[in-house]
Structure formats: C-alpha cells, structure tokens
Amino acid sequence: MKFTLSWLKEHLDTDADAATIGQRLTAIGLEVESIADPGAALKDFIVGEVVTAEKHPNADKLRLCSVSDGKDSLQIVCGAPNARAGIKVVLARPGTTIPASGDVLKLGTIRGVESRGMMCSARELLLGEDHDGIIELKAGAKVGAPVVAALVDAGLLANDPLFDVSITPNRGDAASVYGIARDLAASGLGKLKTDKVQPVAGKFPAPKKITLDFTPENKDACPIFAGRLIRGVKNGPAPKWVQDKLKSVGMKSISALVDATNLISQDRGRPLHVFDADKLSGNLHARMAKDHEQVLALDEKTYVLDSETIVIADDSFARGIAGVMGGMDTGSFEDTKNVFIESAWFDPARIARAGRKQGIISDARYRFERGVDPQFVLPGLELCTQYILEWCGGEASDVVIAGTLPPPHKPILFDTALVESFGGIKVPRERIIGILQVLGFVVEDHGDLHVVPPSWRHDVDGPADLVEEVVRIHGLADVPSVALARSSAVAAPVLSKSQRRSRTARRALATRGFNECVTFSFIARDQAKLFGGGDDARQLSNPIASDLDALRPSVLPSLLAAASRNAARGFSNLQLFEIGAAFDSGVPEAQKTVAAAIRTGNAERHWQKGGEASGLFAVKADLLAALEAITGAPMSAPITQGAPGWYHPGRSGAISMGPKVIALFGELHPKVLAAFDLKVPAAGFEIFLDAIPDTKSKGKAKPLFAPSPYQAIERDFAFVVDAKVAAGEIVKAVKLADRTLIDTVSVFDVYEGKGVPEGQKSVAVAVRIQPKDATLTDGEIEALAQKIVAAALKLGATLRS
C-alpha cells in the first residue's frame, strides 16, 4: 500500500513529519517497508550565488565564475550559457555525489584553470530533462543553506515522501489512504478531516435494473449491489492532478473513467467497476457462475469458471468475475459514451477462493478478500459519479439498489480486566473505552462492555481482538516484561532419548573426521528409485524444480549428490554425514530419522604409504564407533552379510537388534556411483535411529568393579576352514567353547594362497583366557585348547599344522 505524505494529509490534519508518521504506523501495526524521500539524494547540495562571471582565459564557451557558498567565494569553471553574476544556483562542492552520474565530484582543472565545485542542471540532479543551462533558484533562496527547500520553492522538487506500508491480511480497512489516516488519527497523531460524500441527484430513472440471483445457500455471496447509469460521457485522459496522483504511488493513468475507479480504490479502499452500458444486453445480475462458464477478462485472458465463483452478468453472458476482474467486452474505452457504475459488497471468502483458483491478482481482489466497508457501497458510488460528471461530463440516472446492507457486527461482551490479565498491561477503564470509541467501536457500558465493531473492521470478533486493539493503540512498547516462573530451581534435562542419540551420533561422527551436511528432503525421482523410492506416494504435486520432485527414501542419495558436486570442484576424498529425515511413504507416520555417512575417494597419498581407501572396513569401523557412542556400550549385535540393492552385494552388511535392522553399511553399488557420476570408490552407512531399542535403565550405580587377581593368558590358534565360512562364525564358536574362561577372541590374520588348500582359508585368532578362581595349570590350559579346537571343528575348521 503506497501513498505520499501530501495525499495522507488530505485526510489527516497533522504537522508530524514523515519519520514520526512512519514510526507511529509501525507501532500501531501498519508496518512501514520504506519511506522514499526524494530530497534525500540532494542533502549535500547547497544554495550558491554567482558573484562574478568572466570569460575563461583559454576557452570561448566557458565562463570563470566566482560563487559564494555563504562564507567563501569559490572559483568555478562553468559551460552553461545562463551562468551570470547575481543568480542563485545549486552548488555542489567537492565530495558531493552527483545523482545523474553517481560520481563523487572532485577538484578539477579545466583548460588550465582550477575549478572548485559545480553548478548543476536539472538533469544532473535527476529533476527533469533540462540540460541547456544551470538551475536558477528564486532570488530569496538563502545562500549556504541546504538546497532542498529552495528547489521545492522553485517548483522543481515535489518534496513529498512516499510511504510503502505492508498491510496484514486482516486489515482490509487499512488498504486505503483514508483508512490509514483513520488509524493514525485513532492513535492520536492528527485529526481525521475528510468530509462526508454528498449524493448526486439523478436526472432520470435508471434504464437498467439489477437483480441478485442467488439460491438461499449462496445468499450471503453478495448482499448488496448498487449502480447507476451516466449517459453522454466523453472519455479521455483524466485531469493532470489525477494522473500525477496515481503516478506518485506508482499506478498507471489509463483514462478518466478507469482512473476514477482506481483513485477511489486507492484513496477510499472501495473497488468499483464501470461498464460500457451500450455493450451490456439488458439488465445486470449478480449470480454464481455456471460450471465451465467462460469470461474474457480485462487482462485479455479467458477464464473458465465454476459454480462457486460469483459473476456479474447481463441478460446474455457473465461479464466479469465479481470482485476480482471485469470483462473485456463490456469495459470502458476511448469511444465509450454511456456507462454503468457497479458498487457492490462481496463475501471475502468467495472472492479469495475465486482469485486463488483463477490465479488472478488484482487490486479489487486484494481489497474484497480482506473485507471492504459495506457502509461505503453507496458513498463510493456517489463519489465515482461526481468524478465522472466532473471529468467526462454527462448526466446521471437515479441510483438502483438490489439487496440490503449486511447487518452490523454482533456485539462482543468484553471484560476490561482482560487487558491486564491477557494483554499484560494495566490500562485505565476510561482509556480502554476511549481507545475503542476513537477506533469507531460502539461501546455500551453494562459493567462488562458491549462492544460493536465498526462496519469496516471484519477482523474483530472476540475479546482477544479488543485487547489487541487497546494494546496496539495504547502502545505495545509499554507492556512490561514479566519473568516466567521457573518450573524447577535447577533446570531439569529436556532432551528425549532419540534427541540425545542424534546429538551423540553427530559429535561422534564429527570427531571421526566427518563433515556434517544439511540437504534438501526432496531429490530427483530417478535417484530416489535407486534407493527403493520414487513411487507415486512420495512425489510432490508442485515441486520447485523437476529434479527436486521426490521425497527421499534414504539420506544417502543426498550425500552422494553432494560428493559429486564437490568432486566437480576438485574434492574427491570426502567424509560427509547428515542426520535427517527419510521417507517410507507420503504420510506423516512414514518418516524416519537416519544418520547416514559416506566416505569417498582413494587413500590419501602419504609419504609413509599404507592409507586406507573408502572401503567396507573403514565405514564399518565408523559405524561401530557411532553405534557405541549412541548406545553407550560396545556393539555386540549380530552382523549379517548383505544389504539392499544400492550397496555392493558382496561388500555390505546389516546390523540388527531384536527384530529390527538398526543399520546398513557397505561399499556402494557401482551402478549407483555411475548414476551420481562419481568416479572414485565410495562406501557408507545408514543408522536408523528410531529403530535402536531403548536400553533398560538399571539405576545410576555401576556394577561393582571386581577384577580377577589372576593373570590373563593369551593363546593363538590358526584354523584352516572352507573359504565360505564367515570369520564371525569361527569367533562365535570359539567364544562359546568356554563362556567363563574365555574373555575375548579376535581375528588377527586371514590368509588364502600358497600352503592353504584351494577353496580354503586360514583364519588366525587370539584367545584371551581369564582365570577366575585360581591360576590355570598346564593341564587345564591344554584341556581348554582341546575344547576350542573341538568347537571350531564343528564348522569344519581344523588346526593349521
């Protein structure tokens, strides 16, 4: 919503300057986006006076002037033909920015003579096209003073600040200059001074009738529709002051007839429509559109309507989308002779729906969907009549009205104590009543107040709204801050278990050298398909881009895409992770929180050699470290071979706890890497944080520390076994050979090749034996070794000789 200070002052009697008005507007909820001050760019220019003007010694067309800045005389070289002694000029001194060029003026030497400033033309100051000579100010201009006042005085600068105010959707009443003035006046800044609109008497009966053709369920779509005919108008350009006024707020002047409605819309918030009466067949009707009924609108587009849209029709066709946009065929143009003015009130919700459905943004829709003042239906019509008669001539008919004004708003029962108990500020009762009254509310005091909102306020329907009105006018800044009571003296922990898990996983992975990413939850459908997604249920109906159209089934594709982008910048060796959402379907319950990470690239080259590529065991170590951090205990859950199709089928695995898979890991499938254009190895993992079962709390105390006094011993065993037998199986079997004595079993060598039969491998394990009650004798150790060998034999593993 744009308006100039002078326009505002047509409705508001105030001496306040633009900055004060701006602050007040924001303070009462009409947020000022900007105040453009046309004089701001000229604040460094001053009034100068040419004392002498001689011919330049080295140039015929230049003059050497002595110009007074009020204190000193400056020598200035000037090429303007009108530069002469005695005139007052616009003086720029070195350091001043010239608006037209944007350059900062410097001391100069022109044809061998020093010039210590510049006298400016209108064009140089962006005040017009005149560049034939320098500006001559009025003789009374004060030498040395800032030039803005003198420019206004000379009629060269309209010193009229332009406000741009953002109107919230509830405040349709403020979508006009008058409405803004009304709110400012209510806040105590100035007095509203607009006169009542005087009706124009009709000279003849209206030749057209208006009907409201609604079924009972749509009766509230358009409760009132008024109009009148004006015959014998001559359309043409609107008067210059109207054109200037519209231009001052960035609106286009089109023709007198159209400008009249646009001016009233901007000035009074009352949208109107002017039909070319000769193009209407028969009478006018407000009704719901028929399904698939078409209208060619003023934007030259044809809209296909439905039965929930209100239209203004004549006896033949729908001629406009009511409250949204008029029709092309019946609009007013250059040759229009007889016009019919429409002024009606439409149901905001239906206008909003129609506008949204048709995708039309118009000034009429903007106001109608926010709610206009029904009481101004008739004054608006009269004002428009006055303008048209004044600007275009002609003769007005009587006014015809169909329907009646909607009933006044219902009274709200208001306990004034609510201002303090809800609004947090003590305001005297009389002041509360005063604020409401000045805002146009009708207040009756029956102990509790009965408050009827004014016709222009559709957003006030309960006591909380009234508190808001009182607080915003009284001053939000004055509401004292009050501390919330502490719910416990020492703050209690607040994170849920899953929130702690995410946090721990994040810090654990960052500690291991991973860089955290946050990526979009939507990816390309083709990529989603590679990870088990990409189905219809996970598509977005209105994606922002065609490659961001699918809810991601996994976090890995986002990370691989990130890796690919980084590789393109020359960074291939990466450790990336993200903790975020993945989606099993397109419903709220189908979301899971996943910690996913990838390693990409070859082993970093190092002078000592021996680094590790981005392979299975690198990410397995990362995964187990993260899981240990999350669960707070070494990971003992079983690991099984194989993972879903986006992993390498032979180099991937899964970890389960109870019935649930809690993590997947492995090298990524070469086809997946190719799809992301990644040319280096990559491996990764996914932890399904919600799937990890809660550990049962056994109290805070840890079990008693009871170390064995007997020294542990370590024995190595090398088994030869079928190559297909998993090392984990052997470890498990060995461990179970004696649950009390065997502490740990770890694989320290795996060998296939010379010395081991084809199809078999050698697996060497170190077994740590921890005696509990007494030092083991040689015989006991030997017996234990036999048990271990026997356990391994069950898997077909024999002791390597």
Partner: protein
Amino acid sequence: MSDIAALQSEILAAVAGAADEAALEAVRVAALGKKGSVSALLATMGKLSPDERKVQGPKFNGLKDAVTDAIAARKAQLGDAALDARLESEKLDVTLPGRPENSGTVHPISQVLEEVVAIFADLGFGVAEGPDVELDDYNFTKLNIPPDHPARQMQDTFYVAPQVDGASHVLRTHTSPVQVRTMLKNKPPIRIISPGRTYRVDSDATHSPMFHQVEALVVDEGIHLGHLKWTVEQFCKAFFEIDQIELRARPSFFPFTEPSLEWDMRCDRSVPGKITFGTGNDWLELGGSGMVHRKVLENCGIDSSKYQGFAFGFGLDRMAMLKYGMPDIRSFFESDLRWLKHYGFAALDIPTLDGGLSR
C-alpha cells in the same frame, strides 16, 4: 709400594683408552679376569705375613676397587656415546606430514539449534518434534487457517501427491503443527520448543525451499503478553551473547495468535556487508509471535477460559546467519566442503550455558 701404584695407573690408562665396549672388556679381562694382572697380584696376598697383610691388604683392595669403578664409569660413558650415535642416526625430518586425518565439522544449523535448546532448557522448555509431511488439518485448519483464508497465501505450500486413500498431505510450512500435536497429546502446563525443517515454494537470493524454524509454546494459567515479551527478550540476549541488544515489538497478524506481534532488532548496516547489533538506525526482522488464539486452543482440546498461552517462532537459519555473519541461506544446503569447513563448528565445541554458547 710403587708396584701397585704403577699397575693402577697402567690399567686406568688402558681403561680410559678403550675405544669401545669390546676393548674395555679386554682391559677388564686383562686386569680382573682369572689370569688378570690384578687377580695375580691379589693371589700373592696369601703368601704374606699377617703383619704385611694388614698393611698390604687395603692397598690391594684399593687397587681392585679403583679399577672396577673406572671400568664401570667408562662403560657408562661408552654406552651413552653409543646411544647418542644411534639417536643421531635415527633423526627424522619433522617437517614431513603426520598421518592425514580429516577434521570433522558440525553444521551451523545443528550448532545453533543446540545453542537455542541450551537456553530454553534452562527456562524449562522441552523439545518437541513432529513429521515434515504433515496433515493439512494440523498445518492449517487447527491453527485457525481455514481453506481459502488469505493467510494461506502467506505461505506457499508444497503438496505431497494424493495417497492411495485419497488423502493429500503437505510439507509443513512452519513447525506450528508440532504445537498442535503437543497440545492434543498433553495437558497444560506446557512449555516446549519445536525446532525442525520447514518448506515453502520459494527460491531466490534470500529464500530456500527448505529452511528451519524453532518455535516456542507456553500454555498455562495466567500467561500474558508480558511473559511473551520477557521470554523473547531473554532468549535474544542469551542467544546473541550481547547485553546491549535492543528489541522492538510491533503489532502484526497471524491467524493462530491474537494479539500478534513481530520482533525486530536494532542494528547498524551502514557499513556494507557488516551488521552491528544494538546500535544504528535499522531494524532487522527476527520473527513473529503472539498470544495463542482462543480457537487454536479449543481446536486442540484446551479450555481457553482457563488457560492462556503464547507462541513465537524464529528462523533458525536466519539466526545462524545473523549471529555468525553468513550471507546466503542457499549455501547452507549446498554441502560445499569449503563452506562446511569454513562455517562449520569443531566436533567438541558443544554449546553450554556454563561454558558459553560460542567461543
């Protein structure tokens, strides 16, 4: 007995002259070995008379001790020299790089969220979460935004394709549906913050189709606008870690709050590319807030005649940008390694109230 003295000086000279451990061993054997010169001299003791023995005995032993000590001392000396030589030969070029290790980082969004949680946890706020794919009812209708309300245009919504059952869900446009879920599930008193990803169909220099919000909700008896003001002020002061912060509340509109207010922070932007808080003539928008609308409370099964509440919401990305001087929201989600390392936080820089939210 100049014989003994001569022998001693002869042996000690040999000890001193031994160039390495082998030579020293040879000197030892020659002196103290079974057939050594000192051993031979000691062997003559037995032939002496008791009186002579009294005189000569200490001298003989003195010789033996002197030789033994000299050999031990020389041995230690040679050992040190050998070790020095070995260490010298083991010298490495310390300017060669150590084992390469990547230094991990935490994303600014995560870091800033932990800062926010630390502040609110101290005020007794829990952390509530909800799904990104949300019911239209929770995202809009229960929040007093009926279909066709102009307020729906304030938030350009992403819609998920219709499901098999015909239901059509949205990507939440704010984290307010988490408030709805919380109120439906819990009875007052309620104090929560709801952080998370949010989505709007919007992409330009200052907007990203995905961004993050954190909202706070308090519902209890006797809660009023003054509590809201205090909480926002305390939070901003703690978060920005500046005392001289200046906030401004101005009336605004949100369908789910009444009264509604927006918050601005005083700042100075007169130097291009730099923002200073608490001074200057500019105001920077922080976020929206208000008293929870009676209809919202009732939609969520809370008796609005008994309970009052307030809510406010800020953009988490925006807070991070303001506090840490990050210019472009879109770069948050691009995962450029250079950006991650530049703006990311060290793994062990965990924000706490006792240690400080930031370095």
